[in-house]
Symmetry: C2
Subunit: 336 residues, 2 copies
């Protein structure tokens, strides 16, 4: 492994990504500490709080069951704003197109972006289009950035988990990553697995009804539930214990993971969130989530402890406990 | 020419870019009319005006005399905010890196971004990093999006040019495009040509001292001065007449253009702006610009007329007039 070169794993969202971010990118570009690293930045403009976020999408294939790069680009950025408790308002759309890309496919992606934006009540207000010569990009990359507004005084941040808090996931895990993988590799599955790609700010609005009991919200995309919870454990200097038996998992996703040797805890989601909430409000949050179409399969999957700050542990089916680390290397490249 | 495929020229900033934008991208993604298409969107949040913009940078080579993709990514987006008369405040930075890219070069680009952001008094507050497999991107692409605030009530927009207004350019044209081209093609030049890459919001603040006399500000990047003025002529439904003899041009740039058959009116700039201002304030604006380090070579290069709405004409050295169209096809790909 050549330390002087960027590797695929540096884009995994896992350990290598964090090393590159922590050692080089974040300290060079900004003065933001680990504790403050969230899905979006919170800007204060004359006493008003805005959220601002960006993501580039390089998913392969461009079209997959349940969505395409366009729906992903809109919903993903909407979700990053929502995870700060912000109401998403405005998006930018910047396209990098490979020369020779099909205009028809471009039109289909753009139509999906518009439909997703309309559904999420956000407006695409500014954009950019670049074209690079054949072979210098892979068909289409999309960047979306987003601006939203925080309409409350809550502090929702990755450093907010406290001992005793419960960890709730809004539904089945791994659907997006496995749907993209199955399409890319041409796997013949008995039942179709669809990406869960969806805008989560409506679900977040429900959850925020519990007010200050809501400590952390984060969508487990690249790196999956395990990597996201490990990040939160570190940021909050708390331990997190996950109950493996409680993890909602579609049988088809479980099956593909078993066959391919993938751990669903590390597989990306695009329409799920993790909420870490005060214990006394956990059931209320769970009920609110179950009452929303995107939270029907929500489940309490773990809790925050005061022991072992920064450690994520899995309580296994057979009753043991093992430490869970961030995704090492790259499990599924170009999943988003 | 296959109409079903995206061509390099669709990224030129010229005629094909406008066709793709007007026929497909803008109507699909938004309800923004031609008149309202500016370098940044102006958002109204509780009576306060914000500017929001995005650009992806795919310049080749990554490093060139006078800058690199990092300085370009920061200054370019700062300038798009500045052209709305906004004070740039916050940037996002999203990287798409090709597997195998040099970590050392990445570090150099990031350091340049930070230096440019510090110099422009903007903060990089959020980001994203993707890595794609070897051969699926060309080393490094950067998207920056920006948020700024409008601290005045002026309406500065591409549709604001009025008959009688003067057209001012802030300095010599074509420096950036020719610097990048010379580096890419390995041209041996007698004197170095450097990119003019710079943040223009300080210069804009000077110009805004003339208040309502300032009607349009725009930076002539892709497509150059000709394409930008043609856009403004269309948006304002006015004619613009350019005086060829008045155009500030470095002898070295003029020389390369002559040898290669390039028209400097179509060559990209990254540290120049066009200001269209009321005739009675033109000299005052010019003096303000000349008093700023980035406007020393500013010159009045033309005027707006009530004849021939949408038409851009060049008054040539020998006294004739010819219509100038937007850049057709692609003159210099991947210049930004």
């Amino acid at each position: 492994m050549n330390k002087d070169l960027i590797l695929l794993g540096h884009g995994s969202g896992g350990t290598l990504s964090h090393q590159l971010l922590d050692d080089l990118i974040v300290p060079t570009l900004s003065d933001i500490g680990e504790e403050e690293q969230n899905d979006a930045a919170v800007l204060i403009l004359e006493g008003r709080r805005l959220a601002f976020t960006t993501d580039s999408y390089v998913v392969d294939p461009l079209f997959f069951p349940g969505g395409n790069i366009g729906t992903l680009a809109v919903n993903g950025t909407v979700n990053d704003l929502a995870m700060m408790g912000a109401r998403p308002l405005f998006l930018s759309a910047s396209l990098i197109i490979e020369e020779g890309f099909s205009r028809q496919e471009l039109a289909a992606v753009l139509a999906s972006m518009r439909a997703a934006a309309d559904a999420a009540h956000v407006r695409i207000v500014t954009g950019d289009t670049k074209v690079v010569p054949r072979g210098k990009a892979d068909r289409l990359f999309i960047n979306t950035s987003g601006v939203g507004v925080l309409e409350h005084d809550l502090e929702i941040t990755g450093s907010g988990a406290r001992p005793g808090d419960k960890v709730i996931v809004s539904g089945t895990v791994g659907d997006h990553g496995i749907a993209v993988l199955a399409k890319r590799e041409g796997l013949e599955l008995e039942s179709d697995i669809e990406s869960d790609c969806a805008a989560l700010h409506g679900l977040v609005a429900e959850i925020l009804g519990e007010g200050e009991a809501v400590h952390v919200l984060r969508d487990p995309t690249r790196g999956g539930v395990a990597t996201t919870l490990k990040e939160i454990a570190r940021q909050s200097r708390a331990g997190i214990v996950l109950d493996e038996t409680a993890l909602p998992l579609k049988p088809a996703v479980k099956g593909v993971c078993a066959i391919l040797g993938l751990d669903p805890l590390y597989v990306a989601n695009e329409g799920k969130l993790l909420a870490i909430v005060a214990a006394e409000a956990a059931n209320a949050v769970l009920e609110r989530m179950k009452g929303h179409p995107l939270g029907r399969d929500a489940a309490i999957i773990g809790e925050v402890t005061g022991e072992n700050p920064g450690r994520l542990e899995l309580e296994t089916v057979i009753g043991g406990r093992r430490a869970v680390e961030m995704l090492a290397g790259e499990q599924l490249p170009r999943i988003c």
